[in-house]
């Protein structure tokens, strides 16, 4: 099975990008949440790259 960190990281990155786009053209809450989710997603992707199973 794929590393769960890739799944979490991927999903959060996708969610983050969608929310950032929605935030740029809409409410700032989406922007801030989007940025935070993208960062969390990035951390998981980097973690699974640095210490693979």
């Amino acid at each position: 099975m794929k590393d769960i960190r890739l799944v979490i990281g991927g999903l959060f990155l996708v969610y983050g990008v969608i929310l950032i786009v929605a935030g740029v053209f809409g409410t700032p809450v989406n922007l801030w949440t989007g940025i935070s989710m993208a960062v969390v997603g990035g951390v998981f992707l980097v973690w699974s790259r640095i210490r693979p199973i």
Binding site: M1, I8, I18, L19, M37
Partner: protein, 542 residues
């Protein structure tokens, strides 16, 4: 209370469930034995099983319910976390997990068979299996109610759609796909609840603004204290003795140390140390979860003046979502809520299929078949379990009161089980039949005290107080009967109890991995840290 969800929100929901199903298909390729299916092949690292452990308990009923309790009882609700969970989780990891994991049992009832006898195993397996199906049905019904209120979906549609999703990913991937989804869901629900809490706090004028407004609410000053009012009058009508012994000891140790839906997560860890760390790693996020459940409950109380009168306390979180979240983050929050309902149900179903296959079918009905046969039985049990859950959900839709009673009742069924465990672990003389009769008497005592309370024969004040006392009585009866029966029946010889009771060790090969000796992988050190942190948190709001 209908939420204004748009295409963006639905897109986020759809992406999530596509991911969940993909995990199921990916996990399926790795399932070749029944051990893979029921215990994820015992190969997961502690951080995954730890997050799954906390997440299996972070169902939506828990989230909505604790926010509701926060609005109704105020800060005292944190007792369910800091005294009602942390000590028991740490105890499970440090003291009990070595017995569970090293005896290589697949389930809690199987441990009871090894320590006591087949009758004790069967009694516990049947109570557990029935409870899991009923709770899965209640979960499903609650999910459908929320979907109907928030999104306008008809009740039967939500029930069937969510049952199909849960069914597909567990039948495909077994416990590993349930666990991976729990970890994923844990992060998504936080991504929805954190913005909700932050926006809510800003709206009420920060923490000081919130406290000021709570003082003027119906809850008053009592809503801002945890222990200060527990010798006299307080919103929960609970005395500190009831909180410490009823909630903190009997109810909480019963739930966290013997509930197989939780323990199963730790049994799937890769070695003894990871299994012991599972509940301890889970304890750290658990300490902070009230910040996104109880705190929003208090915020909802001051923002919506009619909460508890015209509108139900259970609506606290959905009301805040509709009021504070814009489309986009709203979709994430709805996804988190849906996912946590399904995670709760998946935990019930994966616990059910394991106990049914292992402890009822294989142990008592059809023995000695090849492993592939039991893997197939496990998959069929999953399908049947989900169907019975759907049936229960529709019954619940017709008789919602009965379901509430049942749920309250099961909440203290674990107390006598804990009594049997603790006496059996520390007193090797306790006999097989003492295990059976003690458990039966304790369970009946829990049942009787609840009936007496409901029919008004005994008065306990509130439902909560009744459960504290009911659990305590059940615990006492179980211990008493166990001791009496032990004195008149024959004990097992020491040779059959090695590795199952305290003081009779068994020589197993050491399964430690490189790095397990480091301080940050020490169960005792991390466990002590969690308890200290929980006590320190009480210092913040006494």
């Amino acid at each position: 209370m209908r939420l204004d969800v748009n295409l963006l929100d639905y897109a986020l929901i759809a992406i999530y469930f596509a991911t969940v199903l993909a995990i199921g298909f990916a996990a399926r390729r790795r399932i070749t034995t029944s051990l893979d299916f029921f215990l994820a092949g015992r190969g997961l690292p502690a951080w995954i099983t730890g997050l799954a452990f906390v997440s299996a308990n972070l169902g939506a009923i828990e989230i909505l319910g604790m926010a509701a309790n926060g609005a109704q009882y105020g800060a005292m609700t944190v007792h369910f976390y800091w005294i009602g969970a942390i000590p028991a989780m740490v105890f499970l990891g440090i003291v009990m997990m070595p017995f569970y994991y090293r005896s290589k049992v697949r389930s809690v009832p199987e441990f009871l068979r090894r320590r006591f006898n087949g009758a004790t195993q069967l009694l516990n397996a049947i109570t557990f299996a029935v409870a899991q199906i009923l709770i899965a049905g209640v979960n499903l019904y609650a999910l459908a109610l929320v979907m109907e209120a928030l999104l306008g979906w008809p009740l039967p549609v939500s029930v069937v759609v969510s049952a199909v999703i849960v069914l597909s990913y567990i039948t495909l991937g077994g416990l590993s796909s349930a666990i991976y989804n729990e970890v994923l869901q844990f992060f998504v629900i936080l991504a929805g609840l954190i913005p909700l809490t932050v926006l809510g706090l800003i709206k009420v004028g920060g923490v000081s603004g919130l406290f000021e407004k709570v003082r003027q609410s119906p809850l008053g000053e009592g809503g801002l204290h945890t222990w200060a009012g527990t010798a006299g009058d307080n919103p929960m009508h609970a005395h500190w003795i009831g909180i410490v012994f009823g909630l903190g000891f009997v109810l909480s140790f019963g739930y966290w140390t013997t509930n197989f839906a939780e323990v199963q997560r730790a049994l799937s860890a890769r070695n003894t140390n990871a299994a012991r760390l599972t509940p301890i790693i889970a304890a750290y996020p658990k300490i902070f979860i009230p910040l996104v459940t109880v705190l929003p409950g208090l915020i909802a109380l001051v923002l919506f003046g009619d909460l508890g009168q015209d509108r139900a306390y259970n609506d606290a979180i959905p009301l805040l979502m509709g009021d504070l979240l814009p489309n986009g983050v709203l979709g994430v929050a709805v996804t988190g809520l849906l996912a946590s309902f399904m995670a709760g149900m998946a935990a019930n179903i994966s616990g059910f299929n394991t106990v049914f296959t292992n402890d009822i079918w294989q142990a008592h009905l059809v023995k000695d078949r090849p492993d592939g046969y039991y893997l197939r039985v496990g998959r069929i049990a999953t399908v049947v379990g989900v169907f019975m859950g759907v049936g229960t959900a529709f019954i619940a839709a017709g008789y919602s009161n009965i379901m509430n009673y049942l749920q309250a009742l099961f909440s203290f069924f674990n107390a006598p089980l804990f009594a049997t465990f603790i006496v059996g672990l520390f007193w090797k003389r306790m006999t097989p039949w003492a295990g059976f009769w003690g458990l039966l008497a304790g369970t009946l005592a829990a049942f009787t005290s609840y009936i007496l309370y409901k029919s008004g024969v005994v008065a306990f004040g509130t439902e909560l107080n009744a459960s504290f006392w009911g659990a305590g009585i059940a615990f006492g009866v179980d211990v008493l009967v166990s001791v009496v029966v032990t004195l008149v029946t024959t004990a097992k010889p020491d040779s059959e109890l090695r590795g199952l009771v305290y003081g009779l060790t068994v020589d197993l090969e050491d399964d430690a991995l490189a790095g397990d000796a480091k301080w940050y992988r020490s169960p005792v050190l991390l466990g002590a840290g969690a308890v200290v942190l929980a006590i320190a948190m009480y210092g913040v709001i006494l």
